[in-house]
């Protein structure tokens, strides 16, 4: 290993490892056969360890700010101290490996889920453990929808024909930036309150069917009726509209005709919000 490689591995290991600075430096010195006070030039004002600390402290503070920006509602729910504890543990387990900062928080919901106890039954446990995971999943989806390819570059098609889907349903597709979530808590109001700097109320447990999408570069998220959620989910995964209708009818245990009748009323809304589009 070249001297440059050794120095870089030595300094990186100190920066990204948890623990007290002196312990981290000692462990890195031992592992890489480096003596920090022989490697780092001291100055009148700062020791080698103090100079390293500027980088190790900056690493955590910088990434905490990024995670706060991606997960503002979760930060609000947990409180900054607890949020920071989870983020610090996350960064220890999964140090960033991508040049893209949007990948930094990608695995955070799964990390939170894995940090929970294996079993718990009480309502209090559900609130304590499942609510933060649900919120993290929701906020991660919002971050992803804000950046992935959407429909904005597509020319409006089907314009001039007010309801073409009544006659030709083969042209209906879900937006490429549509994301669907099933959650254990209704969280739309909670997130909206946080985004608007209002005090949110912690919701009670209740199954929630969420759609997150982007239209004209603005991200929107709404709670859907169960059949609406199943229809969009089926349309994302099925080859055609009728297959999605049948899938939805089976999932919701209602007649196909009922779904089709409801769709005639709801599709203009779904098109308006950018959930689906006409090709």
């Amino acid at each position: 290993m070249s001297e440059l490689t050794t120095l870089q591995k030595w300094l990186t290991s100190i920066i990204v490892r948890p623990g007290m600075l002196d312990d981290k430096i000692r462990l890195a010195d031992e592992h890489y056969q480096v003596k920090n006070d022989k490697v780092i030039r001291p100055s009148l004002r700062l020791s080698p360890a103090q100079k390293i600390e500027i980088y190790s402290k900056g690493y955590i503070l910088r990434l905490l700010e990024c995670m706060e920006a991606e997960y503002p509602a979760l930060n609000k729910l947990l409180g900054q101290n607890l949020f920071h504890k989870f983020v610090k543990a996350y960064l220890v387990q999964l140090p960033p490996n991508s040049p893209d900062l949007y990948n930094l928080g990608e695995a955070f919901p799964a990390f939170l889920k894995a940090s929970q106890p294996q079993t718990y039954n009480s309502d209090e446990g559900v609130l304590m453990y499942d609510l933060p995971v649900n919120l993290a999943m929701f906020e991660r989806c919002i971050a992803e929808v804000s950046r992935i390819e959407g429909l904005e570059s597509r020319a409006e098609e089907g314009a001039g024909n007010e309801m073409p889907y009544l006659f030709n349903t083969t042209t209906i597709y879900t937006s490429p930036c549509l994301k669907l979530l099933t959650l254990q808590f209704p969280l739309v109001d909670f997130i909206q309150h946080v985004y608007n700097d209002l005090e949110p109320e912690v919701p009670f447990k209740q199954d929630s069917f969420i759609c997150i999408c982007r239209k004209n570069y603005r991200v929107n998220f709404h709670e859907l009726e169960v059949w609406q959620w199943h229809f969009l989910n089926a349309l994302q995964n099925k080859t055609n509209y009728m297959a999605a209708v049948i899938d939805t009818a089976n999932a919701c245990k209602v007649a196909t005709d009922t779904i089709m009748a409801d769709l005639i009323l709801w599709l203009p809304v779904a098109i308006g919000l950018g959930y689906v589009y006409l090709k």
Binding site: S2, L4, R62, P95, P96, D100, L101, Y217, F221
Partner: protein, 306 residues
């Protein structure tokens, strides 16, 4: 705007510019940008097909754009990240930037990216290593790379070259250009006890393509490159010297935390005109005992939602 091509790798003096930041998207979509050009953080627009790219597309249609990266990791001993360079080139094809810049630093090793600009030991080994990588990058991007001097908080005992010597040799070996951050010279000069003016007098001026100005933070025993304050008098003074020695190059104000409203940002960069007339603003270096963050990057994380 003076776009006369002068001897800076044949690149123009774009005038006064600011960084394109999401806080100002709405303002910029409805108002004249006022400034001559914009610098973007490249990584913020790679794989980003949302509102940010839409704004970038608009701004690129009315003003020159320069792409400034923070994750090329030109000094890392990891293999070059070819996927990253491919995405960078794709973005360049979309933006058509006047030039592409990054930093003389490494951001991590063993596949870790600390998202910080870490210092290199300034040795002959490092020089050969960086020069080889700069040449490869320039071949891939098919244009000269412009490299910025970073703020640093530690020096290695093994260093045998001063930073200005290292940069001069790098320019000789690769033909790369320089982005002279006079605030970083000020910060590193204080932290390591060298004379910032001597540094600026001893870089190859004909290779300086761009200058950065910014406001640092005085943390008592060291200065930190926080990009969150007005530019202090000392940095303007170094700017004045650099413009005199280079014959005039593109100027960019960096402001990445506590970002002011757009008119205030523009007013700050416009101070450069007064500085060049010999009128130095009287602005002290901001002092704090609170934790401050160098190279803030969270400004890249804002979503646009209803």
């Amino acid at each position: 705007m003076d776009t006369t091509v002068i001897n800076r790798l044949g690149l123009p003096n774009l005038g006064l510019g600011v960084g394109l930041r999401s806080k100002h998207y709405s303002h910029l979509m409805q108002n004249d940008p006022v400034v001559d050009w914009f610098e973007i953080i490249s990584e913020n627009y790679m794989n980003n097909f949302g509102y940010g790219r839409h704004v970038l597309n608009h701004i690129a249609s009315i003003r020159p754009i320069v792409m400034h990266g923070v994750s090329m990791s030109v000094g890392s001993t990891d293999p070059l990240n070819l996927d990253y360079l491919k995405q960078l080139k794709q973005l360049a094809d979309f933006v058509n930037p006047v030039w592409i810049s990054d930093h003389l630093c490494w951001t991590g090793v063993a596949n870790i990216n600390t998202h910080d600009l870490l210092p290199l030991p300034l040795t002959i080994e490092s020089l050969h290593h960086v020069a080889s990588r700069v040449n490869q990058i320039q071949d891939i991007l098919q244009r000269p790379l412009i490299l910025e001097n970073p703020s640093t908080y530690l020096e290695f005992e093994s260093s045998t070259l001063q930073e200005w010597e290292f940069l001069s040799e790098l320019v000789n070996k690769t033909g790369c250009g320089l982005l002279l951050d006079v605030n970083n010279v000020f910060v590193s000069g204080f932290n390591h006890g060298f004379d910032p003016e001597f540094y600026i007098r001893n870089i190859p001026h004909q290779s300086v393509v761009q200058i950065h100005v910014a406001g640092p933070t005085d943390c008592d025993t060291y200065l930190l490159d926080t990009h969150d304050q007005p530019v202090p008098t000392q940095v303007w003074k170094l700017y004045q010297l650099a413009q005199e020695l280079t014959g005039g190059v593109s100027t960019l104000l960096e402001w990445d935390a506590n970002i002011p409203e757009y008119p205030e940002l523009v007013a700050e960069v416009q101070k450069a005109k007064e500085v060049l007339k010999g009128h130095l603003p009287n602005v002290p270096v901001y002092r704090t005992s609170a934790d401050a963050v160098s190279n803030p990057v969270n400004h890249q994380m804002q979503a646009t939602h209803e």
